[in-house]
């Protein structure tokens, strides 16, 4: 604790009084509920006002993971979440890195390109989704015209589940690549230019410079991006809501939790406000994020030690 200068006695309580609203809001609205999710996952809570809440032990988890057709669907959604995350993470990471290196060169117009690539990030899922629904308009829209050139065709979001799912991956990457790029750029800009000059004098090729100088020195931004991409993509589902609705064969865990807990569905899948069950499902997703995040962190730390030591 630092020495406090704004008076003693009663006025020593002034900072406590002023910080109270912020602290209370946080504890009541975020921290408390966050911790209470574990409690609710062991109950049969519903979204109906005044309905009693009973303790049901591990029933929700048992039902979610091991009971009949529903748990088959749940596990399929879990698998889809992993596939979505794998594709989004790797492609977004790779493209973000490539673009960051390109716009970090001394070229004219790089500011324009940076701004353009980053822009979708701030538009939000509704606008991102609607823009792409139009771009992928199946009756002679722009993407259809492009595919026509190659003799291809797609029904886009109206196509078979796996096809629709793949297009959501495309939109997800388009929407968020800008963040990855910006973080890589910040990492690239911490590398002093003298190092590049020295490498150039030594006659190193561009690839050698990237491989042996740039790549190791941008380790912190590599770590940040990889973790952010993995965690973000495991939890992302808003674009599914906007682009596909709750459609069989396309759901990811985040969407499933929402649908089960709040009964907002469209299409053939029905659900009720089973909030205890939904809480259990979100604990499952939480563990998935935790385990994958921590495993990644572990390997990144080992890699960092190897590079630095």
């Amino acid at each position: 604790m630092n020495a406090y200068h704004f008076g003693g006695g009663k006025s020593r309580w002034v900072p406590y009084a002023f910080l109270l609203p912020g602290l209370l809001l946080y504890v009541i609205i975020a921290l408390g509920p966050s911790i209470a999710t574990t409690f609710f996952s062991f109950t049969n809570a519903t979204g109906i006002q005044g309905a009693p809440i009973d303790w049901v032990g591990l029933d929700n988890f048992r039902e979610f993971l091991f009971m009949g057709q529903a748990s088959q669907d749940n596990l399929a959604a879990l698998g889809r979440t992993l596939i979505f995350s794998l594709f989004v993470t790797t492609i977004q990471f790779g493209l973000g890195l490539l673009i960051a290196v390109l716009v970090n060169q001394k070229l004219k117009g790089t500011n324009f390109f940076r701004t353009l690539y980053f822009m979708p990030v701030i538009l939000g899922a509704v606008i991102q989704g609607l823009i792409w629904s139009l771009f992928l308009y199946p009756l002679g829209g722009p993407m259809q015209s492009i595919l026509d050139i190659f003799g291809l065709s797609s029904e886009f979001f109206g196509g078979p589940p796996s096809e629709a799912f793949a297009w959501v991956i495309v939109v997800q990457i388009w929407a968020n690549m800008g963040t990855t790029m910006i973080i890589f750029l910040a990492g690239l800009q911490t590398i002093p230019s003298e190092i590049y000059e020295a490498a150039e004098i030594d006659g190193a090729s561009k690839w050698q410079v990237f491989r042996n100088v740039t790549w190791p020195l941008m380790t912190p931004s590599v770590n940040t991006n990889l973790l952010l991409n993995i965690i973000g993509s495991l939890q992302a589902w808003q674009l599914f809501l906007v682009l596909l609705g709750y459609r069989n064969g396309t759901q990811v865990l985040g969407y499933l939790i929402y649908a089960v807990g709040f009964g907002q569905t469209s299409g053939s899948v029905t659900s009720s406000f089973r909030q205890g069950y939904a809480a259990a499902a979100s604990i499952v997703l939480f563990f998935l994020v935790l385990v994958l995040g921590m495993t990644t962190q572990y390997f990144l730390n080992r890699r960092e030690k190897r590079i630095l030591g």
């Binding site: 604790m1 912020g22 609205i29 701004t115 353009l116 822009m119 939790i257 939904a278």
Partner: protein, 278 residues
């Protein structure tokens, strides 16, 4: 050196290739937006005839129709009220929390900071939050909806870190001159931490503006819908009338684009905070 302009410069293939890639991606990024603008200026029959034809005569009726028919003024007003009031409450409460925590002027400062950092590693609050709001009678209630957006752990840590860069001697000097706590925070500290406040406020406001899930969960009365939820309703009604829908999307996009272009520096600094320090 004199010969520099006479000698033919060799073509720099690296540069050509870089531009080629950048332009391809520029098309992927600008294309969907240009299609949106193009479509919004068309009439429906024109669009049906050819979706991709480029407009020759501008038709602004779509914007008028979207504005009048979509209940837009209402949704937009709601969004602005939610965004401005929640961001204001958040910023004011966060500064008064971040300052003593950052300075260590209070007992348990480290613990409070820890409480915000662990938030990123806890399960989502969605279900218990809903149960709480339901029991407090704040379901389908604009005040309750605003309350949901009065917290932001990342913004809080940005503020705490920034306040650390303001020398503590300044606190001492001001106190010595008889400046009280409240006046110090509002009139001396606040102007000095404006960049961090701008970053935090912009990121927070963008999040509220774009939020779709929480209004879907908490607001059932159409009169309370923010623009995001309103757009989804509008899409349901006008789903096949792309020119009007595109105009509506543009109306919703314009304020965000404006904020983005004006505040880009702050947004980017917020997103890269701590990302490269490791």
């Amino acid at each position: 050196m004199i010969n520099k302009n006479i000698q033919r410069r060799p073509i720099k293939w690296g540069k050509v290739l870089s531009y080629a890639v950048l332009i391809i991606f520029a098309i992927i990024y600008a294309g969907p937006l240009l299609m949106l603008v193009n479509t919004s200026l068309k009439t429906l029959p024109d669009f049906m005839k050819s979706a991709t034809s480029i407009v020759t005569s501008f038709n602004f009726d779509n914007f008028v129709e979207a504005w009048n028919r979509a209940n837009f003024p209402r949704y937009l007003t709601n969004t602005i009220i939610y965004t401005v009031s929640a961001t204001l409450v958040y910023i004011v409460t966060a500064i008064f929390l971040a300052f003593p925590v950052s300075r260590g002027y209070i007992k348990g400062a480290k613990f409070i900071l820890l409480m915000f950092v662990v938030a990123l590693f806890l399960p989502p609050a969605l279900i218990p939050q809903f149960q709480l709001m339901l029991r407090l009678g704040l379901y389908n209630n604009p005040i309750g909806y605003i309350l949901l957006f009065t917290i932001n752990p990342i913004g809080f840590t940005i503020l705490v870190n920034y306040i650390k860069t303001i020398p503590i001697e300044l606190d001492e000097a001001a106190a010595m001159d008889g400046c009280g706590y409240f006046r110090y925070v509002t009139q001396i500290l606040f102007p000095l931490i404006r960049p961090a406040v701008a970053t935090t406020a912009v990121l927070h406001a963008i999040g509220i503006w774009n939020e779709l899930i929480l209004p879907t969960i908490y607001l059932t009365n159409q009169d309370y819908y923010p623009i995001t939820r309103g757009m989804i309703v509008f899409q349901g009604v006008y789903g096949s009338n792309w020119p009007t829908l595109a105009a509506a999307v543009l109306i919703m996009t314009a304020p965000m684009l404006l904020i983005f272009l004006l505040m880009q520096r702050y947004i980017i600094s917020g997103l890269t905070q701590g990302a490269v320090k490791g």
